[in-house]
Structures are given as C-alpha cells and as structure tokens.
Symmetry: C2
Subunit: 352 residues, 2 copies
C-alpha cells in the first residue's frame, strides 16, 4: 500500500466558530493539523485583546478535551498522542490605533479584513475601501509585521465578485508595499494572475476550490453542502488554481476555509455558505496531488510555504496517509462534511 507522510500540516484559513460547535469540531482539526489560522468572524467579532484571549482559551480547552466518544475518530485514524495544535489567532479588521496593535502584535498572527456583509458574520466589516482612512492602521500593521488577510469580494454579480476585487488588491499592494497581504480562498484565474504582480501579495486556496466548479454546486441537483463563498467558478478558473497549487507556488498556501453549519442550516429554504472539510482535507489533497503525480509538492503546499510566509515554527507532527478507500462519514456531530457518504482514495493511517 502506498503511503505518504506530511509534516506539520497547517490550515491557514479555518472557522472554528464558538460554543458547542467549537467543542464539537475543533478536535477534528487538532487531530491532523499542527496549527490553523483561526478566523475572527464570531458574533460579535474578535476585536479586543480580551475577546481574543478568551476565544483562544476556549479553543485550547476544546482542543485539550478528550474526545467524548473515541469511536468517532476510528474512521479517520487512531486518536492518541497526536501532538499539539496551535490556534494562530486573528483579529477582525477595523481601524485600530498603533498603540493597541503594538500591544496585541504578540498575540496575533494576522488581521482579517471582511467587506461588510459579504459572508457569514461579516456585517461589521469594511464598508468602503477608503485607503486614507485605513492608512494609519495598515501602516502600523506593516511596521509591526502583522499580515492582512482579505476576503476579496465586491458586492457585484456572484460570478464576478472576486475578479472585480482585483482593483482593491492592486491598490492595497501598491499603497502599502511593506504590508503582507493574503488573498484568502482565491477562486479565479484573475486572482492567480494577480499573485505575481506584487511581491507583497500571497494567497490561500481551499481544497474544495481545487476540486469543484459551479457545475458541482448547481449543474445537476443543487448541492447545499457544496455551497460556499466565494462560490466555485468556471473550469478555467479551477484549472488556474490547480496549476499553482500542484506546483506549490511559493506564495500559495493551503487554507481549508472549512466552515461548519448544523445540517438544518444547510438543508433549508435559505442555506448558509460554507463547506465543512477539516476532517477530510488532507486525505482529499493527497488523492488530488497523487492523481496528478505531484505528491512531492504537497508538503510545501500544506505547510512549508505557510511557515515561510508567516514565519511560523509549528511543533512537530507527522501525519501518515495511506492510499486506501476511506468512506467519508455522513456527518460529524450533525455537521455534514463535503463528500458525505462517498468513498475517497486516501485515508489517514496514523498521526504522531
């Protein structure tokens, strides 16, 4: 049986939510990842040191808990002695003063910017991109070496939102050349082409955007569990993403954007955006990179690039995957994962 080992996998875009959902799903990421960049779009969003530290403590508690039912983890491998998990914390972008940023810089890995109302719990985001208004905050961030992560969509037509946002990336990157800007969960050829235009632009890519186009969401039956923002785009967009991910372009990192919602919020008359991939992301990536003969590049895509872009030193963790059928569970405590009930080609064999 073919095996592949990944060292210190990192998920550089993760929604862990809060409360019972956090308790239910955090361990699934902690099991197979060394760390994850945790998104701050709670209700209310994470905007103060107190909120940040309290959220981090809740995550640590959720991750430190024993699995209530160890059987649940059998399907994804043994759950024991699997090393630590570092939640890399983020603040919700607003205009912050430099004193505050200097004080909190040690506690955060990035600040995440949402345009107002563009996705789940983003109502308090940026309403217009007035760079003069944003300048003190962004210059302080650049000086303190705090990267800016951006959900890059306008409020335009759903298939054009990301491409339309390229002007804003262009303006941000030009005006703040010392600021590290991460284009989060890119989905278009336009974003791939933008990546090399500025040395300070980077990107995360999800596993689902490497696998899907809009056809998978709405081409046959409508699939709520494959609905996310940004929505999956055209085949040529997916191909452009695949090209840079499979070749582990050094400015690109894996970020799952795994976003859990209870089943009844997905299978309803108004389905919330978000695909839950955390527990199957590494298996899917192995299958995909293997299929394209690019397994040797997966380590850079799921860890090394992120370590170098964010200057991270994750604790040791070794995830051994095997090329054998793995039936994706129908749900994880009421959260339906991507490909629920389907069989994929790689499984996690062991984690050390």
């Amino acid at each position: 049986m073919k095996h592949h080992t990944l060292l210190m996998p990192l998920d550089m875009h993760l929604h862990l939510r809060d409360g019972i959902m956090l308790e239910n799903i955090a361990l699934l990421s902690a099991y197979s990842f060394s760390g994850a960049l945790v998104m701050p779009n709670l209700v209310p969003p994470v905007r103060s040191k107190e909120e940040l530290l309290a959220y981090k403590a809740r995550i640590s508690q959720a991750v430190g808990m024993e699995a209530a039912d160890e059987d649940e983890f059998e399907e994804i491998g043994e759950f024991s002695d699997n090393g630590g998990f570092e939640p890399y914390m983020t603040l919700f972008y607003q205009n912050y003063d430099k004193v505050f940023l200097a004080e909190i810089a040690e506690e955060i890995t990035a600040i995440k910017l949402y345009p107002a109302g563009i996705t789940t719990n983003s109502e308090g985001g940026v309403k217009n991109f007035d760079l003069n208004e944003m300048r003190p905050t962004l210059e302080a961030m650049a000086e303190l070496n705090i990267p800016l992560c951006v959900h890059g969509e306008t409020d335009g037509f759903v298939m054009d939102r990301e491409a339309e946002f390229m002007n804003i990336y262009d303006a941000l990157a030009t005006n703040f050349p010392k600021l590290k800007i991460i284009m989060e969960h890119i989905t278009t050829k336009a974003a791939v082409e933008m990546l090399d235009k500025h040395p300070n632009l980077f990107a995360t890519i999800t596993v689902h955007h490497l696998l899907m186009t809009l056809d998978d969401v709405a081409g046959g039956m409508l699939k709520p569990h494959l609905f996310c923002k940004p929505i999956a785009k055209r085949p040529q967009d997916r191909d452009a993403l695949l090209q840079i991910a499979l070749n582990a372009h050094p400015k690109v990192m894996f970020g799952s954007d795994s976003a859990p919602h209870p089943r009844d919020k997905k299978e309803s008359c108004g389905c919330a955006a978000g695909i839950f991939t955390a527990p199957i992301a590494l298996q899917l990536l192995c299958e995909l990179f293997d299929k394209h003969g690019k397994l040797e590049n997966l380590q850079a895509f799921v860890s090394d690039n992120a370590q170098s872009i964010y200057s991270l030193c994750p604790e040791f963790k070794e995830v051994i995957l095997a090329k054998r059928p793995f039936k994706v569970p129908e749900d994880y405590k009421g959260v339906v994962p991507m490909y629920a009930g389907e069989t994929i080609g790689w499984a996690i064999e062991d984690v050390n």
Copy 2:
C-alpha cells in the same frame, strides 16, 4: 384601487406531474389560466397515444374535482364558476413515424424535445442531434404543423449551456424552415438575439427568469426554491428577456415552467430543479409589467401571442387582478412556491 383584466391567460409551459402531485396542484393552474401546454416528462415519458389520452384524462379528472378545501383558494380569490381549463397535450420527442404522427396530430399541440439527462425525467431524451436521423420525424411534424418545443441546453458548464445550444437551434431552424420551433424557457441574451434570425423560431419565457439572476439563487444564502433549469443567468441576460417580454415581442409567449416538488426534495442535500410559480404567476407578471409601465402589453404576452403562434382558440375566461398586497402562502399542500411567505403587490380579485 387599480385593477387589470386579463383575458384567456395561457401558460405555454407547465409541469403538472402525475398522481397525488397532479391532484394537489392542477387546480391552481386551472383556476387562473384558460389553458396550459402540459409537459410530457413523466416516468415513463408520454410517448404513445394511449399514454397521452390516459394522462389527459387524469388531468381532466384532477381539474374537474372540487377543491378539497375551498379555504385554500380564498387567498388567491373566489374559487367558483371560473370557466374551463384546457390541457394542451405534448408528446415526449423521439423519432416517430409519419403514420403515427398523422394519427395523433389532432390530440397534441406540440412535441417536446429534451436533450438526454438535461433536466428532471429527461433520461430518454435525444443523445446527439443527428439531423439526418431526426429528419423524417421533423419533416412529418412540419407537414402536419406540429410545433417542436425544445429544452435548449447542452451538457456544458452550467452558465454556458443555453448559449452553447444556439448552434443547434440554428441548424434546426435552417434545415427545417417549415417547422415551428419554440425555444423553451429562454434565459440568455444569446437566445433573445437568436429569436429574430429565423422566422420559424419562437420562445417562451418564465416569470422567474424575468425577475431573477443567479444572485438571487446563490448570491446571498443559497435558495433551493429558486433553483431551476436552465439556471438564472446574469443581469444583462435578464434585462434582454425583460426587454422582449415587456414589449410583448410577437414571437414570445409566457410559459411558467412551474415545476412542483415536495418540500423535502427541495430542502435536502440534493435539491431537485424546478420553481413552483403556477398560483402566483399572473400576480407577479401584473406587478412586473405595472412597475415598468407596460401593463397594456401583458395581454399579448400571456395570451394573444400564444394564440396566434399555436393557432389556439381558448374558451373565455376573465381574470381580474387588483393592485393590493397579497401574501404568498408558505406552501400549497407541501409544495413551496416562489416567494413563499413574502408579500407581492398584485392579487387575483376575481375569475369569470
């Protein structure tokens, strides 16, 4: 209060289904329409005279039945003495011989062609458009003056399927100049532009494609009750449709494509395609045409054009609509309509 009267409204593309669904929903169309072109995509599809006549009998029975609960109709107006309802029958396209067609011509209003697998119950449709293979059937139809209704989508990328089909319309219209071809439920600027290229091309337009773009289906929450095939397209496509509908282009008719599914087939992990608009279509059209100052053209769009294209003489029916708030029911016997629970600006006042 402003009123508007429509005479002999016709729905030139309607799914009445069969069995209990037929019994539950047929009356809703029969209430406000003089007649409807009934789609043949049952399981199995309607392909013989026996199947056709038996289906027509089941429809007549469903329409003749008294409403089990007259209260249900209060919200859409009095249900009494509202004239007849003619189901204009269609056959499911396959290659038929001329003798059969000549024999059945009196019983049918059109033949409906589905590309194989392109929508609900279309598995037995046309696999490739080999015009030589189709020639005897299509020539016989032209000679017998049987129109060909076409679901015009390829199996390409979901946003391109209709535009890609234009070549096939072009070839059909060119090769069979005496055949009346109806481009069903058109959704794109490309189809609007095709309409005037051939004198033998006509089109139906739904009310939902006049109101929606993909943004309404997937731009905010994902809305299963607004998911249909062909999927709603871009704003410029919707604008092109609006332009010809509001001006009652003489080659264009209203066809609701109203397609009922039980709620659990819509709000599920794989949502079936189809929007249920039959009971609210006239109200929505009045609101839309009124808003654009084009109420005087609605009569042509919902009846006169169809009468002339299909040479129909529907029985007298007068539908009086009033400009007053109408709250769309949450469901009609378990079938969720478009805009369920929302209030629209026009209501049916009376039907004579």
